[in-house]
Amino acid sequence: MNALIARLVAKRLGIMLISLLVVAFAVFFATELLPGDVAQILLGQAATPEAVAGLRKSMHLDQPAFLRFLYWLGGLLTGDLGRSYANNREVADLIAGRLANSLELAFVTTLFSVPIALTLGITAAMFRGSTYDRLVLVFTVSVISIPEFMVATLAVMIFAVYLKWLPALSVASDVEGLGELLRIYAMPVITLSFVVSAQMIRMTRAAVIDTLDTAYVEMALLKGASRRRIVLRHALPNALGPIVNAMALSLSYLLGGVIIVETIFNYPGVAKLMVDAVSTRDLPLIQSCAMIFCVSYLLLILIADLVAIMANPRLRNQ
């Protein structure tokens, strides 16, 4: 069993490396295709040809971009993410704090949204076809069809401006105590939960319904098991694979896709960092962010697969 998982993990890590390489190249070429380079963008309106040339030279941008890219890749192998072109700081330093922030937010959101999504999805499946079920379905579609920035703005207006319960900004800098932490995270987490839950609810519902239709669930019913027991002990463990997979896909959004939330709540995370990096054509920073998103995406999928395997004795004992 452990050998199987070890083999799977090894294989996936191999694939991950290849994917990372592909993404790195793709991002590089995309950056190259974008008009303008760091020097030009940094100088902005003041970008006269001589000024650009001078700055490029001083930043060692006069080497071919591809060479710099390879150099960066080489550095990556030794764990060196390089220096940001835009402000000449270590990319690792720039990212570290913000990645921690992003992970924190993603973590809290996960803690909050996953149980809710599971509960709603499972209960909707249990009462399939009922008014409750229909309500949940309509709710999920409505939630995803309200633009994220609207949810966020509304939340701020209600909770921060009118009620003054929560701060309008979520600067995680000087937090004291759990209560303060909860206050600070409340609004971004609510907004993000809206965004990521819908998909999870729908998939959970579908997966649980699939298993509720099986003969072994009917058998459990005929053994006199309660509805609760049927769902929790018989249906859920067998629906875990697809559910976890859907969760992984939804949660992968929490790192790179939260730009709107980061903007509105002024939360310093990696999504905004990446946008900054793109707008300044800061190749090392763009690349590093892209790698982080890619790795987190692949890791989540790997975890989902491992959970699916652990949940399924047939796979587990192969």
Partner: protein
Amino acid sequence: MGNVVEIRDLHVSARTDSGRTVEIIKGVDLNVGAGEMVALIGESGSGKTTIALTLLGHTRTGCSIRKGSVRVAGRDVVAMSGAERRRLRGRQVAYVPQSAAAAFNPSQTIMDQVVEVAKIHQLMPMEEARQKAIGLFRALALPDPETIGLRYPHQVSGGQLQRLAAAMALIADPEVMVFDEPTTALDVTTQIEVLRAFKSVMRERGMAGVYVSHDLAVVAQIADRIVVLKGGEVQEEGATEQIVTAPKHGYTRALIDAFHPRPHEAAATERPGPETPVLEVTNLTAGYGAIGRDGRPEYLALKDVSFRLERGRSLGVIGESGSGKSTLARAIAGLLPPAIGQIRMDGVELGRRTKDRSKEDLRKLQIVFQLADTALNPNRSVGAILSRPLTFYHGTRGRECEAEVDRLLDMVRLPKALKHRLPPELSGGQKQRVNFARALAARPELILCDEITSALDTVVAAAILDLLDELQRELGLTYVFVSHDLSTVEAVCDRVLVMYQGEKVEEMPTSRMKSGAEHPYSKLLIASVPQLDTGWLDGLDRERASPGAEAGR
């Protein structure tokens, strides 16, 4: 002492997708006395399962008990509250499902599921329940009774699972056991073991039972009384002996007739001599899994099989489940490239896989699968399914094609109007006919039939077999007929080939099958076919000292 089960004027209705309500059980009465085993038989869709489930106060989604009462141990389950019904289930009435493989939760150990009833109803401490389960395993002649409970469902064989399902039902010492076709999915050798185990346990504990089946021979072994159902109504009811030997109702007679296969008559034009065979298979070896360095797959399902088959003849392939019968058919059809060996059709060697074969070769050799449900695309009309091979192989289109489809439907005795239906709208027998007609549409010379009647009830199966026989005579077809059911093989084949663990153990003419089998496995297989004789199973027990070890594998 009164009846343990009393059903009075039971009406069950179902709501169809289009919102109509149809009555599927139309006023059934049923009594089961203490210690009595009553069998419900009838064709597919006659309402057997529906009635059996009402004993537990359960109806499938969309169905509801409209009228009548179902009294179990004196209490009416129809009138019970949900909580009361939950208390009844598992404890007073227990259910053994048709397919144990599907009825076990794949992610829990067997022991957990067997003792679950005790846990739900808090009948005894868990340790005690486990000990009791082990005792049941032993009583049901399961191997390794101490440890088998620790395995997961996929780690035991189908026959064992079926017995484990019985153990699961027996754990709470219920007053009534409900068996829903518990052996239909098993092969004959396993079926015997399971039947025997059921019978002895039931007898020992003096339980009452309801046994659902469409197989008269099986029912004859185990039931005290038989109730014959059709279209949700009771046709005939009587003691087993009476039903089997002196059926009164016409439908019952048809059932019993269908059981006695008409022996196959060898093809009329017995051509002699050294004509090139239609199909010649030499040293065929095939399997599944990764291909090793020696070119052999990891797991060999077929080892060194050879045979010849002449035009207009049919060859039966028999053997227990997993013996490699389907693998043989798939290898011949080119769906599973063989590792070693050749397949010749009309003396010409065929490509290893379908891709390597010419369209003409593909046309001449058609394969028909066991489960018509999965072999027919549920979303294409019968007409479309049948016209595709016509267009594909012969370029027939338009009106001509329509006419040809009509002719095919006629050939398999289906009304033309069926053309516009989708497969899910057909009955099992109809589906299998369409499945077969599709093969005929190619105008093949050789048809590989993989258990095409196993999933059908006897009456329908007999009709299909007749049809096969007739078409062979009319069109000069050659069949390879895969089955685990000897009587069907007997009905259509000239020769039989016995398979065991991927190897051909014996080949002989059908006529010699009963008397002339030499290999011990062939003998066991042939002796395991239930006879329509109430004393057969008991007689067999006396004959043979210990239950066969094979079935427990």
